[in-house]
Amino acid sequence: MADFRICHAARYQSRLTIAERVQVFDSARWRSATAQELAAMCAGVGDGEVSVIGIPGHLLKRWWELAESARRTKGFEVFGTDVATYFVYKEWPLQAPLLIEVVSSEDEPDGPLIQSRDMRHSGGVGTVLACINVDQKNAAVALGTESGRIRVVLEPGEGLMLPSTGILWNRSALDGSGLAVTMLLAVLSPE
């Protein structure tokens, strides 16, 4: 079904199984993936790998402390460095020049999918390498596949590492309400 493989990243300990995460858009509603669909998604090689990752609780907590504090700028820079350092410790691939930004949007259930490549960021145009749910509730990220749309449920602090070749993606609200806060790690394109 998918033209990429879905898995948990190495060295990430997940509470949920892949079966508990992956949903398929079918007849105008989201449903759990069947065993056959899951087998195909987890075994596929296609254009790369979408892997579930997560930032630790202490970083998620710090993000919200920063977001709610008055003195933000310097703290965010150090926070971004600490997120990158965590990725390096986990040996999850990052590329320089790296941009880390946090975006918030209305949490819409089925917005249009967007290209992870050539995306405009605050620091320029680049490719999203990872998107992380920094909400304090579960969220989902929808992904476009050859045959349709799937989404991956993410607990607070969890995210997806996306293939550098580019992929169609967007947030997908589980309950269709509130603000969606997403941390993006992107590699900027050379100017």
């Binding site: 300990q13 609780g57 202490h58 971004g80 460095t81 600490d82 350092t85 410790y89 020049p97 320029g124």
Partner: protein, 348 residues
Amino acid sequence: MSEATLNRVFEFVFSSGIVEQGFTVVWHAGEPMVLPVAYYERAIEIVRAHNFGGLQVGHSFQTNGVLIDEAWCDFFKAHKVNVGVSVDGPAFLHDRNRKTRKGGGTHHRVMDGIRKLQSRDVPFHVISVLTRASLDYADELYDFYVDNGIREVAFNIEEIEGPHASSTLGAAGIERRFRRFIGRFFDLVACDEMAISVREFDSLIPMILGDGAGDFPPTQENAPGAILSIDCNGNFTTYSPELLGLQSSHYGDFAIGNVNTDTLGSAIGGEKFRHISSDIAHGLSKCRETCEYYSLCGGGAPVNKYFENGSFDSTETMFCRLNRKAIVDVIVEKLRRPRVSAIVPAGR
């Protein structure tokens, strides 16, 4: 250990001349709390009955925590017992190796015990055994301690001793991963203004900085008589406590005497003690002459030397490489330079 043996043990200890100052009784074994509280109440009475000199005697329990209840909390508080709970971090790490007889994990029961200690304000520390599986999860371990209000942590490595003939930490490439883990954990603790006390850091930093040199020896395991280990039958030995109960081709068992039949003097004058102590002293001498970490280590642990190298008269072990050299190197590096990141976010 029967009451008669308990009486004999403490009569032996207080009359041996080995204790001029206070000491700590570490109730260890497999799981000390399988015996009832009343047993230890009586044991403490027995200690007091033989303590004519009024020496300060502390008590320490190392427990898996699953049997902690209100009565145990009362006992710990009443006698100011130093409590150590064995928990290897979050359930996905702990339950890999610590299981019930039916094969289920014990983590939830250990955490129930920890919460009882906390609810009764009983001070405790935890000992977490690091295995190969732990080394990729420094942040998860840190979050586990912080989230559960655990403020004192000691890391043991999965050692090679007696029947435990191999360690997951003995695999190729582990030392690099171990150093990364220690470095990462050090950074996390340092960023938190050392809010978590980590035994390995707290003991080594003063020695590395020269502030605490000489305040306490790097290890007691090499000093004859510094540790006296006694089993339920009254057999005793010294040096590494783990030696008691293990067997070897060189020495048979490592017991050097029995409190019911021997005096300390006769034990240390015996052939077995002289053989063991001579071999340990030779190994220690080699460490002193050849190892630049000696002043921070004190010569390692005899039990590791014997079961890894086949002889007390030897030097480096996996314990040395990981629990001493690697940790010292990481601390020195961290103290020398401020924290740096491998990847700097764009725009900086």
